[in-house]
């Protein structure tokens, strides 16, 4: 009996032990230090190219770009993988962890910052220093990283500028002139107040959405978000408190849907049902509303984004990163350059609601055509392009304002806007929490 007990235990341990050791593949949360690839001067080899949700809508465009490249460089074979937007980042992180990033990969602002910071992207300034002048101002500089010198870690690809969209009919009902949309945050709030006063609760002016409004609104009001060394948040100012007080007041007056304080993913729904005056600020939305709510599209007007004291919008470019330890650096770089060049980007923006980050591309007549000034989609394209020409990085959300910082700030704002917390102490607490998070991240 004792003997067989012993055997049982032994067998069980053995089985468990074998299982654990066979599945052993690195007990760690980090990835190994990445070796830098060498240039060989030969554009050849097989590379993988990952895009964010371009299939099936743009299959023929992307395949066309790839085919043309392969024709020019017969020694290169491009394998295209398209990944849906939902879960794109999770997959990227899993692949990075496994050391299996694609050679050329489409990155959004935050995934660029992560992979770049972890040293997984090649410095493209070193590969193509002269290329900078090809891009619209800010687009190239956007891909520098704090603490990484003059390196640029991705090729700028397409951009989507911020615009202002609104319902003309509801504007008029509120006694506002559709030809004179607000240009500053304060004016925007004034408009909202007029709208709330006359709506009788049937429609709201705008989505509260503090997560989406900050820190943009503060920047447009002239609030300094960071100190000069960019290592501490400094937004605790009278202006910021004023913003909270205005929001609180407007919220109480019903200028925003009550639930929009928490989430704004039903914005298309509300705008499309005529229950919201200001729609989302992207040209893509105009196309969306045309598709899903044609009647409301006919009443939709487009203008330049509210920019306040800044006077210009920020620039958020999608980019193509090159895996730092790619086996075919020359081919990968040549291909990324090819995809982001002027003609290919213009061609792309004819098919999708996007804008070229390439200066020559943006100069294409397509982007200055306003048509008869009545079709919202056409006007949106022209307005967006016009704004992009003066866009600058100082209007962007600073790198230090991470998602976690945003969440922490928003929590305090929500309490204040609902009237559960005094605006002054809300801003103060938000800054303290934000600085704590910033210090934590810097400590490592």
């Amino acid at each position: 009996m004792t003997r067989s007990n012993l055997t049982r235990t032994a067998v069980a341990t053995l089985v468990a032990g074998t299982l654990l050791s066979t599945s052993a593949c690195g007990l760690s949360g980090g990835a190994a230090e990445v070796e830098e690839a060498e240039r060989t001067g030969k554009v050849s080899g097989g590379i993988t190219f990952r895009t964010l949700q371009l299939k099936p809508a743009f299959t023929s465009y992307v395949q066309g770009v790839i085919d043309a490249f392969e024709e020019e460089h017969p020694d290169v074979e491009v394998r295209w993988e398209d990944v849906p937007g939902d879960g794109y980042n999770e997959k990227l992180v899993a692949d990075a962890q496994a050391g299996a990033l694609p050679d050329v990969v489409n990155l959004s602002t935050d995934s660029f910052q992560l992979l770049g910071d972890r040293g997984m992207l090649a410095d493209v300034a070193k590969l193509d220093g002269a290329l900078a002048q090809d891009y619209v101002p800010g687009a190239w500089e956007q891909f520098r990283l704090p603490g990484k010198g003059d390196g640029v870690y991705a090729y700028p690809w397409y951009v989507t500028p911020e615009i202002l969209t609104y319902n003309r009919e509801l504007f008029e009902k509120s006694g506002l002139d559709p030809a004179e949309p607000p240009t500053s945050v304060e004016q925007f709030f004034d408009h909202a107040e007029r709208i709330a006063a006359g709506s009788g609760g049937r429609y709201a002016a705008f989505m509260a959405d503090p997560k989406g409004r900050l820190p943009g609104d503060w920047q447009k009001m002239g609030v300094p978000i960071l100190n000069e060394k960019r290592d501490r948040f400094t937004f605790d100012t009278g202006k910021a408190v004023e913003w909270v007080e205005r929001m609180k007041d407007l919220y109480a007056k019903g200028a925003m849907p009550r639930e929009s304080l928490l989430k704004s993913d039903d914005i298309n729904q509300l705008y499309g049902a005529g229950k919201l005056v200001f729609g989302p600020g992207s040209p893509g939305f105009v196309k969306d509303i045309k598709q899903n709510a044609p009647q409301v599209y006919a009443k939709t007007r487009v203008a330049g984004a509210v920019t306040g004291t800044l006077g210009h919008i920020g620039i958020y470019a999608q980019s193509l990163g090159i895996r730092k330890d790619t086996r075919h650096l020359d081919a990968a770089a040549a291909f990324a350059r090819w995809v982001t060049n002027g003609p290919n980007q213009v061609e792309f923006s004819r098919k999708a609601t996007i804008y070229p980050s390439n200066a020559r591309g943006l100069a294409d007549p397509l982007f200055s055509d306003r048509g008869d000034g009545k079709d919202a989609e056409t006007v949106a394209r022209a307005v967006g392009a016009e704004q992009l020409k003066s866009a600058a990085l100082d209007a962007n959300t600073p790198v230090q304002w991470t998602n976690q910082v945003g969440d922490a700030v928003v929590r305090e704002m929500q309490k204040a806007i609902k009237g559960e917390q005094d605006p002054r102490s809300a801003v103060k607490k938000a800054q303290e929490e934000a600085n704590r998070l910033l210090a934590d991240a810097a400590a490592q």
Binding site: V11, V15, A16, D110, P257, N403, D407, V410
Partner: protein, 347 residues
């Protein structure tokens, strides 16, 4: 009537392995004459006796159970235990996403205990469990009883009740928002009927948001656990109900005196499963309360906190791992507590 059911049991093998009829029927016959109600109680006891089957006629080699369990254990070791061991180790480091960490001892745990947000989240998780589990143990059972009878079109109803389980989270969120918004269905009706003078803040107040999320959880769980109970109800002999009905027991009484004791093992399973999923609730709060988890994050649960901390590009893998371990320990405590409460009913 009860004997028919009992005797029928052994016929199953009988049809395939000839000769088994006699002893099986004998065993069943010994049950003959017992009152239906006593049989109901006896069933549980017999089930327990089966656990100790090795002492009786049934003999097995010691390795047989391992052999039967092997495929499951291999999978569990590869895809649960191993990753979990990894999580335990990471919880003692300051690792961030895509960056290995250094050993920091219990710092992550200390940080959690010092964070008021953690205690709010833990409290919310426990509250969620305490409210949702009883609802999910009893309501789906009642629903299963309702759809159990064979009346025309019942298959359609059963399938319809299951659809919330397979509906996409986005659509579920949209519909419930439409119902619960301040200008939504419920508030519009209540205001019209003057039941309330101000819209009920279903989605904009932290506590109400938790309640709304619980409603959605229960609503989704109804169909899901209904299926579990349907399978268990198949084991309840109709004779029991008939005997009790002749004794004059009403519907409600029969539900509690016959149905409930008969499906008790399944109720325990459903209780365990719903407790685990209640402690892991994230989606319902996210689709109703947005990414901040209610105003000021007041409706966040532990899994919500874990995602906020661990996912995304500032992801603090180490801290999130520590929170995962704490959530695991909390789940463990409650499942042991649940066992205590239902002591002697199973295993």
């Amino acid at each position: 009537m009860s004997a028919v059911d009992e005797a029928a049991g052994p016929k199953t093998p009988g049809s395939k392995t000839p000769g088994s009829k006699t002893p099986g029927s004998k065993a069943a016959e010994s049950e003959n004459g017992r009152a239906a109600r006593r049989e109901a109680a006896g069933r549980g006891r017999r089930a327990r006796a089966a656990m100790e089957a090795d002492t009786g006629l049934v003999h097995r080699s010691w390795w047989t159970p391992y052999l039967f369990l092997a495929p499951g254990l291999v999978m569990v070791c590869l895809f649960s235990i191993w990753p979990f061991a990894n999580t335990v180790i990471l919880s003692f480091t300051d690792a961030r996403i895509l960056r290995g960490g250094t050993f920091v001892g219990f710092a992550n745990y200390a940080r959690a205990f010092a964070d008021p947000g953690f205690w709010v989240a833990a409290g919310n998780s426990v509250l969620y469990l305490v409210v949702v589990v009883p609802c999910l143990v009893f309501l789906p059972l009642a629903l299963a009883v309702l759809v159990q009878t064979k009346i025309p079109g019942i298959g359609i109803f059963r399938s319809a009740f299951y659809t919330p389980v397979i509906a996409s989270a986005v659509v579920v969120g949209l519909i419930w928002q439409w119902v619960l918004r301040s200008d939504g269905l419920v508030n519009t009706v209540f205001l019209k009927l003057s039941i309330v003078s101000e819209p009920i803040p279903f989605l904009t107040d932290s506590t109400m948001l938790l309640v709304s999320a619980m409603i959605v959880t229960v609503w989704k769980g109804l169909g899901y656990y209904m299926v579990f109970y349907l399978a268990a109800l198949g084991n309840v002999p109709a004779s029991l109900h008939e005997a009790a009905a002749i004794d004059g027991a009403g519907t409600v009484r029969r539900f509690f005196s016959i149905t409930v004791p008969q499906v008790k093992p399944m109720m325990l399973l459903v209780g365990t499963l719903s407790a685990i999923s209640a402690l892991r609730v994230f989606t319902e709060i996210y689709i109703l309360g947005g990414e901040s988890g209610g105003p000021g994050g007041g409706a966040r649960t532990l899994p919500f906190l874990i995602r906020q901390v661990g996912l995304g590009f500032a992801g603090e893998t180490g801290y999130a791992s520590a929170l995962s371990i704490l959530l695991f320990l909390l789940t463990l405590v409650f499942s042991l507590l649940g066992r205590r409460l239902s002591k002697g009913d199973e295993t």
